[in-house]
């Protein structure tokens, strides 16, 4: 096990290297640079050039990359070209708010998706099942900006129950978490349903029922655990994308998460901040994948790590 984890972590090094080379070149290849953004709409070419020089963007790209990598090696992610903030501590400061939002959105996704999925599988082809399937379809197909605005219309505008924007209290978290978590709830409902149905047909379930175990116990102890494997995979994948991909929800609710921050800095071409962000995200993705793989072993003892 420890060897497995060590191996996986070592494998991560070339992955991180490739990710940084690719993203560094892409970020610098995209038209527009921080000097242009600083100079503004009616700058002269000569002025943009002077700012570029001052920012150190005139050096060849491989030199800029090696400079950045040697900084990373020393644990120094550099400073923003826009407002001079230190990259690492600025990014780390924003993580807790995003973590809270992502966790809350998973409570919504799993809290709704798993029970509804089970219900739908157990009561297959009944009204409850059809209802659950329509619900899942709706959850998946409603765009989250639209859902966000509808929630706001109902709970902030009409009922005046929840604040429409900001962060800090639980009340601020409810609407963004629902808007971010509902599509996931739909996906998890469908996955839980189909894998539950599959597992319920297995011989060992019939055996468990035959030896006189209560139906409830069979469903929750024997079937559910085995049906959770694909669900865990999806949660792992979604965790990563929700960390960075909640830009729209964060914008609508003016939630100070890392997704919108990364997006605004990308539009401003704040290279050090973008690279720091991508680096941290790459690390998080690798860690999440590792945890997901370890969880597989817990859910499915036939998976071995040697």
């Amino acid at each position: 096990m420890h060897i497995y984890i060590m191996k996986r972590l070592l494998q991560a090094i070339p992955v991180i290297f490739l990710v940084t080379v690719l993203t560094f070149s892409l970020v610098h290849l995209v038209p527009g640079d921080p000097a242009l953004m600083r100079a503004g709409e009616d700058a002269t070419a000569e002025q943009v050039e002077a700012i570029r020089e001052a920012m150190g963007l005139n050096e060849p790209i491989y030199k800029q990359y090696t400079k950045w990598v040697s900084g990373i090696m020393r644990g120094d992610m550099g400073y923003s070209l826009q407002d001079g903030r230190p990259v690492f501590s600025t990014l780390i400061q924003r993580l807790p708010a995003t973590m809270k939002l992502v966790m809350a959105s998973f409570i919504v996704s799993i809290g709704i998706g798993v029970p509804v999925g089970i219900l739908s599988a157990v009561k297959q082809n009944t009204f409850a099942d059809s209802f659950a399937r329509v619900f899942a379809l709706l959850g998946i197909s409603m765009p989250n900006f639209w859902m966000g605005l509808m929630l706001m219309l109902i709970f902030s505008y009409s009922l005046r129950m929840l604040p429409a924007s900001g962060s800090g209290t639980l009340a601020h978290l409810i609407m963004p978490a629902i808007a971010l978590g509902m599509p996931g709830a739909g996906i998890i409902t469908r996955l839980t349903r189909s894998s539950m149905l599959e597992v319920m047909k297995q011989d060992y379930i019939r055996t468990a029922r035959a030896k006189g175990l209560r139906r409830q116990l069979v469903i929750y102890k024997h079937a559910l655990k085995n049906a959770m494997l694909p669900v865990v995979t999806v949660i792992g994948v979604q965790l990563g994308s929700r960390l960075g991909g909640s830009v729209i929800v964060e914008s609508i609710f003016a939630y100070p998460g890392i997704g919108r921050f990364a997006y605004t800095r990308l539009l401003a071409r704040d290279y050090p901040m973008i690279m720091g962000n991508l680096f941290i995200f790459a690390m998080i993705f690798i860690l999440i994948n590792l945890i997901t793989d370890i969880l597989y072993g817990f859910l499915e003892p036939r998976i071995r790590y040697d």
């Binding site: 242009l36 709409e41 009616d42 700012i51």
Partner: protein, 526 residues
Amino acid sequence: MNKKSLLWMLTVILIISMVALSACGSSDPAPAPESGNGEAAPAPGAAPGARTDLIWGAMQDPDSLDPRLTTSSYAEEVLELVFNSLIYPDENLEMQFDLATGMETPDDLTYIFTLREDVTWHDGEPLTAHDVVFTYETILNEDFGSPHRTRTHVSTVEALDDYTVKFTTETPNAAAWTSLRRFIVPRHLAPAEPYEDGQGTFAFQPVGSGPFKLVEWIPNDFILLERYDDYFEGPAILETILRREIPEGETRFAELLAGNIDFTYPPEREIDTLIEDPDFTLVMSQTLNYFPLAINHAYAGSDVLNDVRIRQALNYALDKEAIVKHVWPTASVMHNPIIAGTWAYDDEATYKYEYNPEKAKQLLEEAGYGDGLTLTVTMSNSTENIEFGELARSFYGDVGIELVLETMEFSSALAKILDGDFQLYHMGSTGMYDPHDFMSRFINGTGTTAYNHPEVNRLVEEAVQIIGDQDARKALYSEAQRIMTEDAYNVPLRNSQMWMAWDADFEFDYNFVVRSRNLKDAYWKQ
């Protein structure tokens, strides 16, 4: 590998990440104020019961709060509260003294400012002529990379004593002294090399001399300002200003109606609702922003746009009134680069292209493009731009011009435009305090459109050298406007309006030019 040790490992990973997270959380310099209902305690001495805080719902974050490094209007609306300048334009675009008490011009090349002696920085240090010199020296230094360098028309700056500063220009320049409206930064705190690693915190925790001091700025969240009690004009009435960034227009509108923010820029489609609502005040204000469909006069690979008939056809073919009314209902149509209503604008000299598709067709025919012509417009991909593009496409289609829309994200579009890699573009220009600020963009082929007309070059360059005779300058600008519009230098389109809405109990004098400076005297009636 048994289950127990697996579980144990997962627990450890979880605990470690939790600890790491909570450690990050605690490194926050101060807890975020509870957004949404940050009612502050009233100041001792304030009218009983009246609020002394303001929650401002802003559209976007500043890029930097080092005034020498930003031209963003989102930054300026904060800088106006935190910093001061020698002079500033009032709502009639006339310059008023701020840090200066007077200005002498012993000759056409020299400007001597005397400064107030009672001004202190927020850390208590006195503001002197040396700070002014430091500010302008860094702006003028090419290696510093200030976007204000080419917009500041002086060549030297020196302190004659602690409270006297002398500026000189190389040639007489009527636009020179009005360009001395840059915010002054403290020499003992502001960096001289902003992009060197670890140059400190000035760009996000600036120290100024204005009526409010910056307490904290959390990017994409809030900027908290607190009254500076030793402000030289006496303390402001408001005690705190919490400027929250809320990018979505409808969210700002909902929060304003719910009373969670007091003051904001609402979406254009909600203006009528707010005007009718007695609980809110809405003020519209003309801007100094000019949005043309700009023409590249030096497009590599094709000289079709160098034919004046084609440029005129581009002007005749658009029903500008209809387009502007539909896409930007609050804006007004423009006919030349100088904003109507400012002193240098000459309505009579301006040739106005009325909507005339027949004339456009005829001009294209004469130019040899009766069979059609394809042109590309480059612009950012905002909803309004796309709407505008579709309308323009259909108007141009009617006269046989196929307009290709090339829309992209803002910085990419800006890069293409500044590189001269476009035929037509649609993007704004701002900041006309002096007509030279705008007209200089159309001389000698140095502007983004590369417009280069020998007579216009001469007129504009001559006009800026006339000191102290506005009528003589105006006559030259009138002639330049006549030539440029007849020559169809661009397809001028619109001058935008700005509007702000706030709680009707809040007393505030808003206009586009003075902007947030007036928050110093704003107060709650109850």
